[in-house]
């Protein structure tokens, strides 16, 4: 028969403190040992939709495009460019959706330290280090969000958002000190909307739909499980993540994809050229190159140099000259991305071209 143990008040307090400390320690160690998110066969995709994927305008997709279980991929002929394979509800897309679901659930199950519950706050104008962050309702990004890997190229950032993610116009996700867009995961419980010209980075995984407004860009992936993905004049690039993130997909990853620390071995540069509207035939217009990691743009009209831009905005004014003309922009990048030449033709409308001068009639008749 065992004897009952009698503890003094001090002893009971010591045990309670030890228990509390152990719980805190356990929680902290759980957060530190967050499971890696694996996209597996979804990793080659830059855009993967559930029901449909629609595009308007000259979007550029550097990576695979797919949809499953839906079949509709709308608006990906010219002027859009898809530099990757296309999978419409085939075996590849179906398997990618299964792996996306797995990755989504892993991301949603990441332990989050209480201090990382950002519910009710704006993501904009913050600097966050590696770890998991939670929103128990919707999340809003207005302005820049800086993700600091503190020199660890394997640093993983996971955002668990219970409902919608919305970004304001011209917002940005900025990666510094070795942070890689391949290792940033956005798990969105409903739908995500990226505002006009938002420069987004990371793997955007939404349960329902994803909408990119005009001019938004993504370095990473846009992956919708059930709903549609809609694009309008966007640039999306997963070139640096095709082998998977360092933490997730078994590949080595490049680990240097942050805008603050671009290595010469990465090839994350993107560029598209657009022309501005003309208010009148006799007016000229501006041609603008936009994208990522652009170092220098040389503009030429019919072979003649008309502009050399080494910093943003990479823009040149094109005067309305008679006839048909070819505008070319030679783009070089800050990283190892191969230089590219973008081009378009334009011609001034008749009113801009010809108002014959007065002259004598000395023709044969």
């Amino acid at each position: 028969m065992s004897r009952p143990i009698h503890l003094s008040r001090v002893g009971r307090a010591a045990i309670a403190l030890a228990l509390a400390l152990s719980i805190i320690f356990f929680a902290a160690s759980s957060a530190a040992q967050a499971a890696p998110v694996k996209l597996a066969t979804a990793s080659p995709f830059v855009v993967l939709g559930g029901s449909t994927v629609t595009n308007t305008g000259p979007s550029t997709l550097n990576g695979d495009l797919g949809v499953a279980p839906g079949t509709a991929l709308v608006g990906f002929g010219l002027p859009a460019t898809v530099n990757g394979a296309t999978h419409a509800n085939d075996g590849v897309a179906k398997q990618a959706q299964l792996d996306l679901t797995t990755a989504y659930n892993v991301a949603a199950g990441q332990p989050v330290a209480p201090a990382n519950d950002l519910t009710g706050t704006n993501l904009g104008n913050r600097t966050l280090t590696a770890g998991a962050y939670r929103y128990t309702s919707s999340a809003q990004l207005t302005g820049p969000l800086t993700l600091d890997a503190q020199g660890d190229p394997d640093a993983q950032f996971v955002f668990e958002i219970a409902s919608a993610l919305t970004t304001a116009s011209a917002s940005a996700v900025v990666l510094i000190n070795g942070a890689s867009p391949c290792n940033v995961y956005w798990q969105v419980g409903s739908s995500a909307t990226l505002g006009t010209t938002t420069a987004f980075q990371g793997n955007l995984m939404a349960l329902t739909s994803i909408s990119l407004n005009n001019g938004a860009s993504v370095t990473g992936r846009v992956l919708a499980r059930n709903g549609q993905v809609s694009l309008i004049n966007n640039v999306l690039n997963n070139a640096g993540c095709r082998t998977g993130g360092t933490s997730g997909d078994g590949g080595s990853g490049d680990g240097t994809g942050g805008t603050g620390n671009q290595g010469r071995t990465t090839r994350n540069g993107t560029a598209i050229m657009r022309r501005g509207p003309r208010s009148d035939c006799t007016d000229g217009f501006s041609a603008t190159v936009r994208g990522h990691l652009i170092k220098r743009v040389v503009f030429r009209m019919d072979g003649r140099r008309i502009g050399n831009r080494k910093k943003s905005p990479f823009r040149v004014f094109v005067r309305a000259a008679p006839g048909r003309h070819l505008i070319r922009a030679h783009v070089t990048f800050k990283d190892a991305t191969r230089a590219k030449t973008l081009r378009f033709h334009y011609r001034a409308c008749a009113a801009a071209v010809l108002e014959p001068r007065r002259g004598p009639s000395r023709l044969t008749g």
């Binding site: 003649r304 006839g323 003309h325 071209v353 010809l354 014959p356």
Partner: protein, 233 residues
């Protein structure tokens, strides 16, 4: 209502002498665009793309009638050096030469013109497709319109009292018969019919190609210097 529209269209066609093209049709023999070169300085045309080659003639940077920049069709480029082969204005008809690209500016045109003497038609191409057809007056058998490949030197807005107004396209072609005409070098033009006799569809001119007022107005608003012109049987 349909009949009224049809009659109105017919009357308009008859009045302008313009035969609207059938829906844009490609012509495999017409290029979609023609490279041009704009002279920013007087140039010397030579027989070969080298400074040691014999000189053909001097080409002024401005055209004589309206003082606009000279624009020449580019026919080729030298493999070495900065030279382009161009079609030259004046006699002999259709002659060519090489000029340096120094003090020039490249350009292009999507327009081309063909004159068919047998059918007395002017056919205008844009991007290699027929844009318009116009009935025309061409040269008589005694003062024929010269055949060959030419280009538009300059477009001219003529005074209301001038013969052949309201506009003229002065071409690089010269009459094979009239070495001089009305103070000019026998230059062949596409122009209107102001103060001139001769019905559209006939051979009644001194070598120029006449089209209706509506047609030349349409052309003058679109056809600029350097646009290639082919005159064929």
């Amino acid at each position: 209502m349909t009949r009224i529209v049809a009659v109105a269209a017919g009357l308009l066609t008859a009045a302008t002498g313009c035969v609207l093209a059938t829906p844009a049709r490609a012509d495999s023999t017409v290029r979609a665009s023609q490279p041009l070169v704009v002279l920013l300085h007087d140039h010397i045309a030579r027989t070969r793309p080298t400074l040691r080659a014999p000189r053909i003639e001097a080409v002024g940077s401005l055209r004589p009638l309206t003082r606009v920049r000279t624009v020449l069709p580019v026919l080729g480029r030298a493999a070495r050096g900065s030279w382009v082969k161009v079609r030259l204005p004046g006699r002999p008809n259709g002659h060519t030469g090489w000029i340096r690209t120094w003090q020039t500016r490249p350009a292009q045109t999507e327009w081309q013109i063909r004159v068919k003497l047998s059918t007395r038609q002017v056919v205008v191409f844009r991007d290699g497709r027929v844009a318009r057809r116009f009935r025309a007056v061409v040269g008589t058998p005694w003062t024929p319109t010269p055949r060959g490949r030419f280009f538009v030197e300059e477009a001219i807005a003529l005074s209301s009292g001038d013969h052949g107004g309201p506009f003229a396209l002065a071409t690089s072609a010269r009459s094979e018969v009239l070495q001089e005409f009305d103070g000019g070098p026998g230059q062949i033009g596409l122009h209107g019919t102001n103060h001139l006799a001769g019905a559209l569809g006939t051979a009644a001119s001194h070598g120029c190609v006449r089209v209706s007022t509506a047609a030349i107005t349409w052309l003058a608003g679109r056809i600029g210097s350097g646009v290639p012109l082919t005159i064929a049987s």
